[in-house]
Amino acid sequence: MAETAMLRKRMSVSASESPEELRPPAWSFVPRAFAPLLVGTVVAGILYFFVQPAIGGFGSNLLLFAGINIILAVSLTIVNGFTGQFSIGHAGFMALGGYTAAAIVYYGSFKIYGDASFHGGLVSWTGRAGGFRGPLLGSGDLLFVGATVAGGIVAAAAGWLVGLPSLRLRGDYLAIVTLGFGEIVRVVLQGTDEQLRRYDLELIRSTPMLKLMNKLGGALGFIGIPAYSTVFWVYLWVAIMLIVAVRLKHSSYGRALLSIREDEIAAQAVGVNITRYKVRAFVLSSFFAGVAGALYALQIGSINAGELGFQRSFEILIMVVLGGLGSVSGATLAAIILTALPEVLRFVDQYRMIVYSLLLIIMMIVRPQGLFGVREAWDLFRRRRPRGGA
């Protein structure tokens, strides 16, 4: 009794509020829910309108790929970090999302506009800087955003199908299943029919969208996609990804996931439905991998399944492990570092990838727990609490 009273006293002191006021008023739900997103949008806007012109084309190219890698790494953190499962098929989900979005934008453009050129607004302009006159948002942007979300949904659906049977099992099975899944996706996409081109406009218009979904270019990859994905869109999704991941980590859901990671039997014993939680985490992670794939395809203007094999999955996994399994800020930082590092190392010429690998090995020897371990960057500046760090 004395302890409870003390605890209550401590809580009220630290929050300097009475227990009843701990629950915020109902009206504040909307601003609380959307304020971080608003901040994210503003930051993405600043990056696009002010930072990008300042750092030039090459810098913004890295900025874009860093952003896409952040989404990939943080989304994999949800499965490999929070939940403690070992998935190595992330590039497969990326490929699914990328091809879906690419096909929707490409064939959709033909169906709507009759060509596959750019129909977006200023925030989607990926062409030469300053070469665009027009409104902030165009009709093509709607197609692009829809396609990105659709790419995420297709990847999430695939994640559900893969996760449902394999996540009932414990141990390394998920690794094997996801590895196999990634390879299946690659081989199936490489075996698709030839892409229809502008000469086939009538055929594209008369064929229903679903039937066009097997005309994805095969081994050459899907090409000639109008590019919409700019720094603005990528960092808007980065913001959404980070908000989702941080909120998830500190929610009851996230606690359940962390408990599964620490000890499945104990988690089950306290009433966590481990399969359900694992599958949900997996589906969420797949969704964002699909979105990242969509942003990637619509940035470069082409996507090639041959490059999205298990090696790409490992690259993402390395980011997660380097950042610290379970740390959102760690994965973010690792994604940035690993995107920039190969470019910084250009000066060592053909030894570049050797030095790169060597640096990775050294980093893992010096900090086997990753950059931040399970903690976050901001925890490092805070007084260490007894329950912090696992």
């Binding site: 990056l47 909120r247 990838m353 960057a377």
Partner: protein, 398 residues
């Protein structure tokens, strides 16, 4: 609540502030070093002329990238020894793309934005030329691909050129050689479905062969990394074709040939330029009496070919493959265009490249056509005892 809001704000803001700093560092470090030579793109104000090359110097296709780079380096060295272009030395900057599309985009962006190159050479693989080509097109910097054979590469736009023949032509070469010269009518094909090159060439061959009145009895496919082809070869054996068209790479062809002979498939095998390698000798006598189409023959008596062979051997101590020859040709064609161009401005240079006529190159005389592709001949090589030698020449269809 307070804490959480702070956490969230940090989560969003921390990377947002970290990023630009990092990229400013990466960006500025290069920009400052190259700013002195930046004007080379526009007006001619001293200093070297920079050209860029991006290729797979590492990764599974490293031999292609390295060979091409050797050819380009040789051309640059020669040109500089002869006084450069319009009195200026050429500076070549080569970036590795690890055989990845994303890296190719980054490398080309860096070449154009940071290093200020006036033209870009690359890539070997069509898929990576297609990934990075739009960057050159957007920035108005001409790009010449030495050996991307997929027709869609130069369809990117008026800044993209190539010095090699395209898949439909090579498919036609294989088909017309088999049909008209060897008088064979019944074909089988065996291709790699995970390689755009192989799948594309297979399709073009089948189209051309059927158009010429031949019959393709069966088409079999394998995937990257396959070592056992006995299932496909058994299926092919049952159809009893007169020859098998194999548009794959040399590593696969050696295995396929040996397994085919073991299974009692004795008909000739015919392939494309992916076969070119000294490693064909590993097949022993399994490839005797087989043919493949190639960009040029080393036995060609033209001075361009013999000079190139001599110089390449003394520089690198080995015989050049087709990739090296095409890299050399791409660089020399670019220098020729630079001399004729009104200025080194992207569009002037592209106009000069587009008007190239009968340029005497190692891989045959090159005329750039209206699709910005090279019109040229192909040769057929015959394999005997692990060595290949010139057999025939096939001209483009009228």
């Amino acid at each position: 609540m307070h804490m959480r809001a702070k956490t969230l704000a940090l989560a969003v803001l921390a990377p947002a502030f970290l990023l630009p700093i990092l990229f400013l560092v990466v960006g500025c470090e290069k920009q400052s070093s190259s700013s002195s030579t930046q004007p080379a793109t526009g007006s001619a104000s001293g200093g070297a002329i920079k050209i860029g090359h991006y290729g797979s110097m590492t990764g599974s296709e490293a031999t292609f990238g390295v060979s091409t780079d050797n050819g380009i380096k040789l051309a640059v060295k020669e040109r500089n020894a002869a006084g450069g272009v319009n009195g200026k030395q050429i500076q070549l900057i080569t970036y590795d793309d690890q055989g990845k599309g994303q890296e190719a985009v980054t490398a080309v962006t860096r070449l154009i934005q940071q290093d200020g190159v006036v033209a870009v050479l690359g890539e070997v693989a069509s898929s990576r030329s297609i990934a990075a080509g739009p960057v050159c097109q957007r920035e108005g910097v001409p790009m010449i691909s030495p050996s991307s054979t997929n027709p869609q590469v130069t369809e990117i736009g008026d800044m993209i050129f190539r010095v090699c023949f395209i898949d439909p032509f090579q498919g036609y070469v294989g088909a017309s050689f088999a049909k008209n010269q060897l008088k064979l009518d019944k074909a089988a094909t065996l291709y790699n479905r995970s390689q755009a090159y192989s799948a594309g060439l297979n399709k073009e061959f089948v189209n051309a062969f059927e158009k010429l009145g031949g019959q393709v009895l069966i088409q079999q496919a394998y995937a990257d990394g396959d070592n056992d082809f006995s299932a496909q070869l058994t299926a092919i054996r049952e159809k009893n074709p007169q020859f098998i068209y194999i548009p794959g790479y040399y590593t696969e062809v050696v295995n396929i040939a040996r397994q085919a002979r073991k299974l009692g498939v004795t008909c000739p095998l015919i392939g494309g330029d992916g076969w070119v390698s000294e490693e064909l000798k590993n097949a022993g006598d399994a490839l005797d009496g087989c043919y493949f189409s190639d960009h040029y023959s080393q036995e060609d008596k033209r001075p361009e070919v013999q000079d190139f062979l001599k110089k390449y051997k003394s520089e690198y101590g080995k015989t050049p493959d087709s990739m090296a020859a095409l890299g050399y040709d791409a660089a020399n064609l670019l220098f020729d265009a630079m001399k004729r161009a009104k200025s080194l401005n992207g569009h002037d240079l592209a106009d000069a490249i587009a008007s190239t006529k009968d340029f005497k190159a190692v891989t045959g005389n090159i005329t750039i056509n209206e699709h910005r592709d090279a019109n040229k001949l192909a040769v057929i090589q015959k394999i005997q005892g692990g060595q290949f030698s010139y057999y025939a020449t096939v001209e483009p269809p009228k």
